[in-house]
Amino acid sequence: MTWDYFISILIPMLEGSKMTILLFLIAIVLSIPLGFLLTLAVKSSFKTLSWLAQIYIYVMRGTPLLLQLLIICFGLPMIPGIGQYLVLDRFVAACLGFVLNYAAYFAEIFRGGLLAIDKGQYEAAKVLGLNKWQTMTRIVVPQMFRIALPSLANESVTLVKDTALLYAVAVPELLHFAQTAVNRDFTIMPFFVAGAIYLVMTLLLTLFFKWIERRYTFE
């Protein structure tokens, strides 16, 4: 295993990681707010909306992300009539799949966070004269986020790992290039390099979240 060989397989994999990271960022940035909206929908007093949101969450969490990606990427264009308008760019389709899927997971996390907030917090806010919006934005949401942070961190690490599914919709990412190199050179090395890259990414992410957690600790 020469150094040159190592570099030669590393470079395409790092290229591929760019895709991984880009997808990760897009998915996180969009699915967290969408997840929060879903949580609100679930808690909404408008029953139909609440039911729809719950069914949505249930279906997204009950079927494999891989299947969802295949549907968005290859299934939608096959719908008779409207299919031709549903042909998304491959990467856009992948992002959409991840956002729709992870929003459901984040919604569950936020719901848990809301449940963990003591009734007394709402009562104290009410007695102090805060209106519902102020109570939500100043009292409830900050605490909810703080409570949800460890779960958010876990879910984000899962998201990084799930980017490996990109290869199913033919977005050339890290794992795809590792597999190319393994097949071409008949050596297990590239898999280990890929594993190391994933470990670095998840480690950095974990450290980042730990830092945020410490920063926003209530103590």
């Binding site: 030669s8 470079i11 395409p12 290229e15 295949l70 990427c73 290859f74 264009p77 096959m78 299919g83 031709q84 042909v87 760019d89 491959r90 290869y167 199913a168 919709v169 033919a170 050339p172 795809h176 290039f177 190319t180 097949n183 071409r184 008949f186």
Partner: protein, 242 residues
């Protein structure tokens, strides 16, 4: 006015054709040690693009999804050792075939298997949704095979053959010939072949205009020797169908 300005734009910039390939399908299209996509079909497509005065872009896809990719319009052509079959003709437009191929059975060089009948009770691998599975299914021996394992690409199947999980792989003759030149004495091809077949370029149903354009380019390359040159480069001899 809006639509007219759009067509105006289109006329100016070159059209881009997206070509779907399996980037693990040597020597037709695969990645070299620099991770560049190279191969017979890659060179052929590049030369054709020049004739057609279009830009091209190679899109590696999961071979299982190739027709879905074409149908969705995300790729314009399937051009990567794509075998003409009757079933596919119902879903895809083909150019005239440009290369002859056959589905063959490959085993390890030291294997005891020597004829098709020996496959009875054996484990055979092939690429999922490829013409190899059609070829195998069309042969009576398929009844007696123990298991058929489907891989997303040929290379993984060959790896599994090498590691001993498979007894044989059904694969394109062109592909295995290439591997036998790079990895000498590893494999052996059974003499009886499963089925002859031909490669052509696949185009989305209904797009006869593109079909004609590609066909014209292929014909031109046949006459001016470009195709012959590419064939010699990758296959060692001129095998192109005139």
């Amino acid at each position: 006015s809006d639509s007219s300005s759009k067509t105006g734009e289109k006329a100016e910039e070159k059209e881009t054709l997206v070509i779907g390939i399996d980037d693990k399908f040597a020597p037709m299209g695969f990645r070299d040690e620099n991770n560049e996509i190279v191969g017979f079909d890659i060179d052929l497509a590049k030369a054709a693009a020049e004739k057609m005065a279009v830009e091209i872009e190679f899109q590696p896809i999961d071979w299982k999804t190739k027709e879905a990719e074409l149908n969705s319009g995300r790729i314009d052509l399937i051009w990567n050792g794509y075998t003409v079959t009757d079933e596919r003709k119902e879903k895809v437009l083909f150019t005239k075939p440009y290369l002859a191929n056959a589905q063959v059975v490959v085993t390890l060089a030291d294997s005891e298997l020597s004829k098709l009948d020996d496959l009875a009770g054996k484990v055979v691998g092939l690429q999922s949704l490829s013409s190899a599975s059609d070829a195998l299914a069309g042969n009576p021996i398929s009844e007696d095979i123990k298991t058929v394992t489907e891989f997303s690409d040929n290379v993984t199947a060959l790896s599994d053959l090498k590691s001993g999980r498979l007894d044989a792989v059904v694969i394109d003759e062109i592909v295995i010939n290439y591997y036998m030149t790079t990895q000498k004495d590893t494999f052996k091809i059974l003499e009886e072949e499963l089925a002859p077949e031909e490669y052509a370029v696949g185009i989305k149903k209904g797009n006869e205009e593109l079909q004609n354009k590609v066909q014209t380019a292929l014909d031109e390359m046949n006459t001016d020797g470009t195709a012959e040159e590419i064939s010699i480069k990758w296959l060692g001899e001129d095998k192109v169908l005139k």
